[in-house]
């Protein structure tokens, strides 16, 4: 590290009028940002605000279209991640780049200069991880580690380069509240050493807790620069969203009816080596209920959705029941015909085909359940485009889907609007059971509150709703009952009013059954 002893008041990083165009779309538009040595600086914004694009430019992954980056007083051009690392910029990505079949030390070695022995790397990584309170076994295989531990590898990998600036992209989205607390301690340690942290998040509470300054982005532009501790959550939210966000009202829920969806000791083996197997899952959702399943990503949520939806039917019929009828071995359309609706996590390429029009994407989910309305010509199966287009229009109007043109391709809609359409596509049928995985993942705040309200309203009208979500705010907004999934096991189901964030956090960590009562007592 060459430039030791910089004057304390000079800026570590100054970004001037940085712009990145994709075609004609400006992902970042004249961004100004400066970071002082020894501060934790928040970069706030909704999904799609341009945060990731900005940091990718700082880390040399993307080349800026125009503007300049000044590092310790010198204008620089960062042409690759290794150039960024040489300058002293480290980055921890939201999606990890680790090889699951290799050990921790081997993964770290891959990002280091060649010629350093594996044993030395293992030793250094182990020392460093303990020094910062992020204990790691360098000889463990990544596949066996939890998501939180995998993140530690990334952080340690960045720290081994002795960076002056560490960029963390949405680090807590994969952590339990307890793991997040630990991470914050580490960040404060880094700050105390005079390193700077650029902390990307859309969680206001965290930002207020640990960040010294904040820069807020919206639609690729800076809409605010402030001290988050001087702001209220709602003033920060306004800067992020550009307006007030409707509050979800859960009033009137809680009148239970008959059991509409049930899983009895549902187990399913993992389909791929790195998938999660489901172990003995029991759940019941009554009419009028919203059961939310909380959990950190990658603990079997996708697998649970696949089994319940029938995309991958299970071996035995009577482990899954819809309206008291066994359906375990039946396919997704058979379950739809029994009144169930499904919204998967991934919008593009799962819930919708990006290149196809909205009306085609309507047929995607409803070709069998609405056979009579949408298909004609008997065995020929002619698609009645006029009827489908009418229905698509009805759904767009009901869910306030904003789109360019009458029937545009799904890929041209923003995440929030497409998700409103996908949810509306199911609501339009008045399903008796609705299963939703991550209903508002990557969706702007306005659309998210609309979708959550729609889920609550559906339950109020007497349907059973199952929501799988990582977002605790969302869970507390919509749920009447809450359970937690961890490593493919489901906790008991608790009434939402009986659970606190701390207790959910403990359940996320896999503490359930007997230990759970003791730990809860401790937490209160």
């Amino acid at each position: 590290m060459s430039a030791e002893g910089q004057p304390a008041n000079s800026l570590l990083l100054a970004v001037g009028q940085l712009t990145k165009l994709f075609g004609t779309f400006a992902a970042c538009n004249g961004i100004n940002l400066d970071i002082k040595p020894g501060e934790i600086h928040a970069l706030l914004g909704e999904n799609g605000a341009g945060k990731s694009t900005l940091v990718k430019m700082l880390f040399g992954v993307l080349a800026p279209t125009s503007g300049q980056i000044v590092w310790q007083g010198q204008p620089v051009r960062i042409s690759s991640p290794s150039a960024a690392r040489k300058l002293g910029i480290g980055m921890v990505f939201q999606h990890f780049s680790l090889f699951e079949a290799l050990t921790v030390a081997e993964n770290i070695a891959l990002s280091m200069d060649p010629g350093v022995s594996l044993a030395r790397i293992a030793k250094e990584a182990s020392d460093l991880s303990h020094a910062y309170g992020l204990p790691l076994d360098p000889h463990a295989h990544v596949a066996d580690l939890s998501v939180g531990e995998r993140q530690r590898i990334e952080i340690v990998r960045a720290l081994l380069q002795n960076p002056k600036l560490i960029i963390l992209d949405e680090p807590t989205s994969v952590l339990t509240p307890q793991e997040a607390d630990r991470l914050f301690e580490t960040l404060n340690k880094l700050k105390a050493e005079g390193r700077s942290v650029l902390y990307i998040s859309h969680r206001l509470e965290e930002v207020q807790r640990i960040c010294d300054r904040a820069t807020v982005l919206r639609h690729g532009k800076v809409t605010g620069a402030c001290d988050p501790r001087q702001e209220t959550p709602s003033s920060l939210a306004r800067m992020m969203v550009g307006g007030d966000v409707a509050h979800v009202s859960a009033e009137g829920t809680g009148t239970k009816g008959a059991i509409k969806l049930e899983a009895r000791h549902l187990s399913a083996s993992a389909r791929t080596p790195f998938a999660v197997s489901l172990k003995n899952i029991c759940l019941k959702v009554h009419a009028g209920e919203v059961l939310a399943i909380a959990g950190v990503a990658g603990n079997g949520q996708g697998e649970l959705f696949d089994a319940l939806s029938g995309e991958y039917p299970v071996a035995s019929d009577d482990v899954i029941l819809i309206s008291d009828k066994p359906v375990g071995t039946r396919g997704i359309n058979a379950r739809r015909l029994m009144g169930a609706g499904f919204v998967p996590e991934e919008r593009h390429g799962h819930a919708a085909v990006s290149a196809l029009s909205l009306s085609d994407n309507l047929i995607l989910a409803r070709s069998q359940s609405d056979r009579r309305a949408f298909l004609g010509g008997g065995p020929l199966g002619l698609i009645r485009q006029d009827a489908v287009k009418m229905a698509a229009k009805r759904i767009s109007a009901a869910m306030d889907v904003r789109k360019s043109g009458e029937n545009p391709p799904a890929g041209s809609l923003s995440g929030g609007n497409l998700q409103k359409f996908i949810v509306g596509r199911e609501l339009d049928r008045q399903p008796t059971v609705l299963i939703v995985n991550q209903p508002t993942w990557g969706v702007d705040a306005g659309a998210a509150s609309r979708i959550r309200q729609a889920l609550v309203d559906l339950a109020k009208s007497g349907s059973a709703v199952l929501v799988i979500s990582q977002d605790l705010d969302e869970i507390f907004e919509v749920a009447t009952e809450i359970a937690v999934i961890s490593e493919g096991r489901l906790s008991d189901i608790y009434p939402a009013s009986d659970l606190s964030r701390e207790k959910i956090g403990l359940l996320m960590g896999g503490m359930y059954g007997k230990t759970e009562t003791a730990e809860t007592a401790h937490a209160h």
């Binding site: 994709f22 010198q74 799962h350 995607l364």
Partner: protein
């Protein structure tokens, strides 16, 4: 310096439609340069390559004869490619269809009946479909790459045909030539018009193109093909089975290639020989893409590629050059079609690095 392909924000509709024509124009231009380098007058060469075959009735018939197998095969391939199943072995399915359909006129040559022809056609489709069923089975149940298996099976089919016509099926009265006996008149596909040789194979091709176009455009099956081709996961969400789609698309394209094979043998050659196709099964891949995987577009592109075969033969005679220019033409055409499509969707950007790059990374 490096070159980047950057996705265009919006794709010009006009140029998407014009693209095949631009590609054709560029092929003609560079084809002309090729003739010039061969020392021939490019204009008269191009004239005899592309225009002269269209000026006489008999050569229009030849055009239909050559276009028929190309269109039939390409229409089937379009279903495969749209559903993301990469059947490269239509040449083999064409040959196996021809062999299966020839069982009646070669082995049971004494049976003469109006039923012979329809049965031959059905057997041809069955033979092609069964042969395509091999890579389909391997992909659906063993997750094998169908590009490799279907391609390798082409050589199996070619050698099998070679063995048949030199061995068990050789014409006993044929002076030891490697040929089967010639088909009886009841086993010959009749001509479509009184004016020339073009047989009903062309009719089959047009009919198949219209039926598949209708299926793709109006039916749930066509929708299923499109969805599974774009995203298997979305297809599964819709309740469509990608495994069944492997079978459906491979068997359909195999059957159409087989029909093309038996129609060609029965209508144009009237016996089996060691080589019965000038690479129709491979050229059909170009036809399918030049026609944008749209059955009606494929009718047009099939005629264009058939013209390159005819024109190639014509210039061999009139300009005394080898048959290689046909291959070059077909290669040029595919190259320009693909590059025009790419440039419509992407633009090229040169990235120059500053000389005063402080990190020194750009110099690598």
């Amino acid at each position: 310096m490096r070159i980047e392909l950057e996705r265009r924000a919006d794709v010009s509709k006009l140029f998407s439609i014009l693209s095949p024509f631009i590609a054709l124009g560029l092929t003609l231009f560079f084809g002309g340069i090729m003739f010039m380098m061969l020392g021939k007058d490019p204009f008269s060469a191009l004239y005899s390559f592309f225009i002269e075959p269209l000026t006489e009735v008999w050569s229009l018939h030849e055009l239909a004869i050559k276009a028929a197998p190309l269109i039939l095969i390409a229409v089937g391939l379009s279903v495969c490619y749209r559903s993301n199943n990469w059947n490269i072995g239509a040449e083999g399915q064409f040959i196996m269809g021809a062999i299966a359909g020839s069982i009646l006129p070669v082995v049971f040559y004494e049976w003469q009946s109006p039923l012979v022809l329809p049965l031959m056609m059905l057997l041809g489709m069955l033979g092609g479909a069964l042969f395509a069923g091999i890579p389909a089975f391997l992909k659906a149940h063993l997750n094998t790459n169908e590009i490799l298996t279907s391609l390798m099976l082409v050589y199996v089919a070619q050698l099998f045909l070679d063995w048949l016509v030199r061995g068990p099926w050789r014409n006993p009265g044929g002076m030891n030539f490697p040929e089967t006996r010639t088909f009886d008149a009841t086993a010959v596909l009749p001509e479509m018009f009184a004016s020339g040789r073009a047989h009903w194979g062309f009719g089959f091709a047009i009919l198949a193109a219209i039926l598949i176009w209708f299926m793709m455009r109006y039916t749930l099956k066509g929708f299923e093909i499109t969805v599974l081709g774009q995203s298997q996961r979305a297809g599964r969400f819709a309740g469509f089975s990608s495994r069944k789609m492997i079978w459906f698309s491979m068997l359909l394209s195999g059957a159409l290639a087989g029909l093309a094979g038996i129609a060609e043998v029965s209508g144009a050659i009237q016996q089996l020989r060691p080589v019965i196709s000038p690479g129709y099964g491979f050229t059909a891949i170009i036809v399918a893409f030049l026609g944008r995987l749209n059955p009606l577009g494929i009718v047009v592109s099939g005629l264009v590629l058939a013209l390159t075969y005819l024109g190639g033969e014509a210039v061999q005679v009139s300009l005394q050059i080898s048959d290689k220019p046909i291959r070059v033409f077909q290669g040029l055409l595919l190259f320009f079609v693909l590059s025009c499509d790419t440039l419509i969707h992407y633009k090229i950007r040169m990235i120059w690095y500053d000389l005063n790059d402080t990190t020194g990374e750009g110099a690598r």
